[in-house]
């Protein structure tokens, strides 16, 4: 799961091929994903894992790293 989400984040949000991410790179607090663009990540995960993440759990903190996102997905499954 980590690999799938990491690949999506890299394809979706990175403009420069030289940038590198790992599962603990801060995405939102690090300025890689803005709050506007977070919605596509949420929708991708919901579609991919056939889950619904409630809005009150889809916080910038919960989406801040791939590791945290994986925890959220498991909790929502």
């Amino acid at each position: 799961m980590q690999k799938v989400i990491l690949e999506y984040v890299e394809e979706e949000y990175l403009e420069d091929d030289d940038e590198e991410l790992d599962v603990d790179t801060p995405l939102i607090s690090g300025g890689i994903v803005d709050s506007f663009s977070m919605v596509s990540l949420k929708r991708f995960i919901e579609n991919k894992y056939n889950i619904t993440i409630p809005d009150d759990k889809a916080t910038p903190e919960a989406f801040d790293t791939v590791t945290k996102i994986c925890v959220l997905v498991k909790e929502s499954t």
Partner: protein, 415 residues
């Protein structure tokens, strides 16, 4: 006193942080009409300096055109100064509707509604026509006013990479379940001067049954062979569902904006858009001036043709001198310097040479993308452009950046 020292200190600290970050904005006072030649007081209190203005949105040179000024005077005499009312109570004159009709005809749309500014048009339009069942999919480099309008709207929001049609298509697929999908873009992007691929975007919108929105503020009046805008250049006139644009740039440059497009969407704005409902519309004197601007544009393409020739001359001159420019074919010509301090130093030196052009750096543009954004006008004559080129070349030599690659400039000055 409620504004205590403690409260004051909070703001002093915030202002200090803005200054420390190097993004504190200072106004320069112009003591003349807006034109190619202006007299500027900068720094405040200094004696006036005559400079060539190369950073105005006065693309068609109409900001102080004598016919426009005369029409505004007549409008002031015939229709008074203010309306003292919002549109739907007693704030609509015949000339407001006349301007809406002329704008509709000019843009090739179905109907138009005026707003106090294009900022207000963008601030009100999304909330007026979309609901939580819908999605807005915007280019990542759209103007700040669109971002504010999106924030005020309850519809879902997503973005696509700048001008990346593959990415846009993926987003249209991702949000296929939404009631309405609106694709949102600028026509001409103000910082880079590049043009949206409206033909490809329209094709995608047709394929995925989406609405398309274009802010053409940096295009109306001069992009396209008769100046109708980006939709004319991309051969999609009549296929853009919503165009927002401004009268505060090429079209006389005073103030005001509009939403133009499908008549049902325009009517929804008339019923629901809050900046329209809760503030006065454009003052009669300005409407009168813009009506004259429209007459000028309907009569001839002379001004946009001159602007195009000027922009080509300027772009060619800078390129031949060895500057790195953002590619494009609009009158927005960014001279890339990459380093923020270098952009400020060169802007300051150009001013000393009599050229008024501003350096932009992060956060206005991406990090490492600092530039001087030059903007060409039909009000520029060849001697203005030649003096501008002379100054740019002199300063370019001083900093040894002519003919240098991006990497060489970065190696010399850092990012």
């Amino acid at each position: 006193m409620s504004f205590s020292d403690t409260v004051r200190d909070i703001y002093k600290q915030q202002l200090k942080e803005i200054q420390d970050a190097g993004i504190f904005k200072q106004e320069r006072f112009i003591h003349s009409a807006q034109a190619a030649d202006i007299e500027v007081e900068f720094p405040t209190g200094s004696s006036l300096k005559k400079v060539i203005n190369m950073c105005a949105n006065n693309y068609l040179g109409l900001s102080c055109h004598p016919d426009v000024v005369k029409a505004a005077h007549e409008g002031l005499d015939n229709r008074g100064y203010g309306m003292s009312s919002v549109r739907f109570i007693c704030g609509t004159q015949d000339i407001h509707r006349e301007l809406e009709k002329k704008t509709t005809e000019f843009l090739g749309t179905e109907d138009t509604i005026l707003f106090p500014s294009c900022m207000d048009a963008n601030g009100g339009v999304f909330e007026a026509i979309l609901t939580e069942e819908d999605v807005m999919i915007s280019d990542r480099l759209v103007h700040a006013s669109i971002i504010d309008g999106i924030r005020l709207c309850g519809a879902m929001h997503d973005t696509f990479k700048h001008s990346n049609m593959d990415h846009l298509e993926k987003k249209l697929q991702l949000h296929a379940d939404k009631r309405l999908k609106m694709v949102i873009t600028d026509g001409v992007f103000s910082m880079d001067g590049d043009t949206a691929k409206l033909d490809e975007m329209v094709a995608l919108c047709e394929k995925y049954n989406a609405i398309i929105f274009v802010d053409d503020s940096h295009a109306t009046g001069f992009i396209g062979k008769t100046g109708r805008g980006t939709h004319e250049q991309c051969d999609v006139v009549g296929k853009i569902d919503i165009i927002t644009t401004t009268f505060g740039k090429a079209l006389g440059g005073a103030s005001g904006g509009c939403v133009s497009g499908r008549k049902e969407l325009v009517e929804m704005c008339r019923q629901k858009a809050r900046p329209y409902l809760f503030s006065n519309t454009i003052a009669p004197v300005v409407v009168s001036g813009v009506l004259k601007v429209m007459d000028i544009l309907f009569q001839s393409t002379e001004r946009r043709d001159k602007l195009e020739a000027n922009a080509n001359y300027w772009r060619k001159g800078l390129t031949e001198a060895g500057f790195i420019l953002k590619e494009g074919d609009t009158p927005i010509v960014p001279v890339m310097l990459f380093n923020a301090k270098l952009s400020q130093d060169i802007s300051r030196d150009l001013y000393e040479e009599g050229i008024y052009a501003i350096g932009f750096f992060f956060p206005v543009v991406a990090k490492g993308q600092a530039r001087i954004r030059t903007q060409i006008s039909a009000g520029h004559e060849t001697h203005h452009l030649d003096k501008g080129l002379e100054a740019f070349i002199k300063i370019g030599k001083k900093y040894d950046i002519l003919g240098k690659t991006k990497q060489e400039i970065i190696d010399k000055y850092g990012l």
